[in-house]
Symmetry: C2
Subunit: 415 residues, 2 copies
């Protein structure tokens, strides 16, 4: 058993009791996924958890993307502070598009190293290697563990803090699968059972949610498998907190045609050439969403009439918000130096693209489900134990998904 400790990071104090702490980010888990699987009796542990603990909604960080929200969860601060407002940004000074797949872009410390220094055995398991890279910084050298499903087989002590992942957790699955996510939770339970970690962050990938509506049997099976692992973690004595980085919606018409606004094409037709549209959902793993999400940063040409362009965009059907840089930075808590001149979000069923030829729509032939905007902002928030007086008030106010480490550590025992 770990000792009860206390440590502070980025203005928050964490006082986990002498019990294992497990925070789970179920990537792309719109609440409907839980509703359907629960209704079918396929998530008995989650059903029990919501009875004995807490189930509600939390507000994610904008844009509702994976890196943005995982960065917020592991630092406890909004993107304006940690600096990760998307998977990449356009650097106005160097004139280059910059991929933010490593810790050097993170401007706030993660809570992991401080948990370690306070004496906790920390493990971070992610589905994708890109997230591991961001969060592992400073962790391994202190004896922590950080690996991904994607690179489970090649994890080595020096860089991952563990060398026997497959022996402990079973064979590494394919990254484009539901199993890639279940493996994350299974690894967490294995690490906990083996006494190799007692403070865990487990972050899955949303391949299944991009591919499947909540009603499809494949995804119900997936959530049943997730539930089994959550049950193991609870049985091992952990206080478990569960949230999501973002929701997920169909981004197509009722007939199944993708609803895409090609911003670069439309803007250049209206205002002439020179626009650069940054779609911060874009990453090396675009197979399941074709780099189409409900959020975009727009860099306008030199000398352009920004207000006129903003007005034009705001009038475009399907666009729900269009702000200038500083307004967007304030309303969406974004880092101003990594933004375009204008920021656009689109509706529940609408995604933003650059131009038709830039996107591979073959990748989404089975249907387009995606995220990034306001309609993927409200995500599930669950705790395995009842909340104390202080935190039950917090959980009902404008609670954020990145409050989850604080509430899991402090919220279920009387301080």
């Amino acid at each position: 058993m770990p000792n009860a400790v206390s440590f502070s990071v980025n203005g928050r104090t964490y006082s986990p009791p002498a019990r294992p702490i497990v925070v789970i980010c179920l990537d792309g888990s719109a609440d409907e996924y839980l509703d359907v699987a629960l209704a079918q009796g396929r998530m008995p542990h989650l059903a029990q958890l919501s009875l004995q603990g807490w189930r509600g909604f939390a507000r994610a960080a904008m844009p509702t993307f994976t890196n943005v929200n995982n960065s917020s969860i592991v630092t406890g601060v909004p993107p304006s502070v940690h600096g990760i407002g998307g998977n990449f940004f356009f650097d106005n000074i160097t004139g280059q598009e910059v991929m933010m797949n490593s810790a050097q872009y993170l401007r706030a410390e993660t809570i992991f190293r401080h948990a370690q220094l306070a004496g906790r055995k920390v493990a971070v398991v992610t589905a994708k290697e890109k997230l591991r890279d961001i969060f592992a910084s400073g962790l391994i050298s202190e004896g922590g563990i950080a690996f991904s499903t994607e690179k489970a087989r090649s994890a080595v002590m020096e860089t991952h803090g563990i060398a026997d992942v497959e022996a402990l957790c079973g064979p590494q699955p394919e990254i484009y699968s539901g199993e890639a996510s279940v493996y994350v939770l299974r690894a967490g339970a294995a690490l906990l059972a083996a006494g190799r970690a007692d403070f865990l962050y487990l972050s899955t990938t949303d391949y299944m949610q991009h591919k499947h509506t909540p009603q499809e049997p494949e995804v119900v099976d997936f959530y049943a498998a997730i539930d089994e692992e959550i049950g193991k973690l609870i049985a091992l004595g952990a206080i478990v907190g569960v949230t999501a980085d973002h929701g997920m919606n169909d981004k197509q018409t009722a007939e199944g045609t993708p609803n895409v606004i090609y911003l670069e094409t439309e803007l250049e037709a209206a205002f002439g050439p020179g626009f650069r549209v940054i779609l911060p959902i874009t990453d090396p793993y675009v197979v399941h969403h074709g780099a189409l999400g409900s959020f975009a940063q727009i860099h306008v040409p030199e000398g352009a009439d920004v207000a006129a362009i903003q007005h034009w965009l705001a009038l475009r059907k399907g666009i729900t918000e269009c702000h200038d840089r500083s307004t967007a930075a304030r309303l969406m808590e974004l880092p101003e130096d990594r933004m375009g001149d204008l920021v656009v979000a689109s509706g529940r069923d609408v995604v933003l693209g650059r131009s038709p030829d830039w996107h591979d729509l073959k990748a989404i032939e089975g249907g387009l489900r995606s995220h990034g905007g306001r309609y993927e902002e409200m995500v599930p928030l669950l705790f395995s134990e009842p909340l104390n007086a202080t935190y039950s008030g917090r959980a009902r106010a404008d609670v954020r998904n990145f409050d989850i480490f604080e509430i899991t550590c402090n919220g279920t025992h009387t301080a």
Copy 2:
């Protein structure tokens, strides 16, 4: 049994099969209420319904108020078409505040009279008399029934199409109670069982949701009672569709202090006198929310710099949207001639007021829960039977709560 008929209203065609049709609007039913009651096993019929039929989310009309959304549900059109953008508005021409508690303000026909003309026996039961007044227009003279819990005892054939409500449905309950809403559904089941109606709209009141968080036992008992009536309606052979007019959130700090922005006070301190703030949640029944919601219309003084005021409001923490009239009319589908110069919405935990002395905060001493903004926009959408191919696509796209009559009529049988 009714005949299968077909009729068109406001550009939509309704083809209900030869079965009873029941549409239920559960006022203020944020999805969390269903989640908690379902987890506790207190809504067995809803559990069965979501297994055999459909459960998801729909987008309500803005502002997320009762009259606005009920008007949309019974006409199938947004507020820009039916004209009811709140409980009241300020008429710029006459200089008067106008309460919209009667049918004369509704600019679109309800589907009820057309259902009647097509041969259906229509009944509308509401908790509050104000809604009955809006929807009963033209209904009674054709043999329809329309009454409210609030005035159940005084319903007479001439104006309500029914004179024996208490004999049929039991004694009229207190309007400020959960029973006021359960009575609406019980009346629906009684009318259906007695063969007096086969096309019903049942619309409850949100007294319980303003007063209680989803976890409180009183509200769980309330939803259990609602569930029992839904079970009766299904057992009577009805196709049942369920939605809500708006969600509900705590509008207070984690410590329980109301989060109010007093707009008139703040605007007059910054820009001088002459502002008129319209809070369209205001109605004769303010006991449970103190006329505080997350939406306001602002009429600025003659000659004021509207853009400067808009900019100032947009910067105010807690305000999530501030639009000029025409932008708001477009983005929120509102009737432009019944609006202020500026439209403001506030955050998940924030409400908008006029000035401290205008509101009776004693009324909300138990805690402030309210609605009106975007964070009460996504509401439950349920159907008692599986959706056909056409409408299952509709239910997954940007489906609206005011699609519910069309989907309940057309969506569960193969046309």
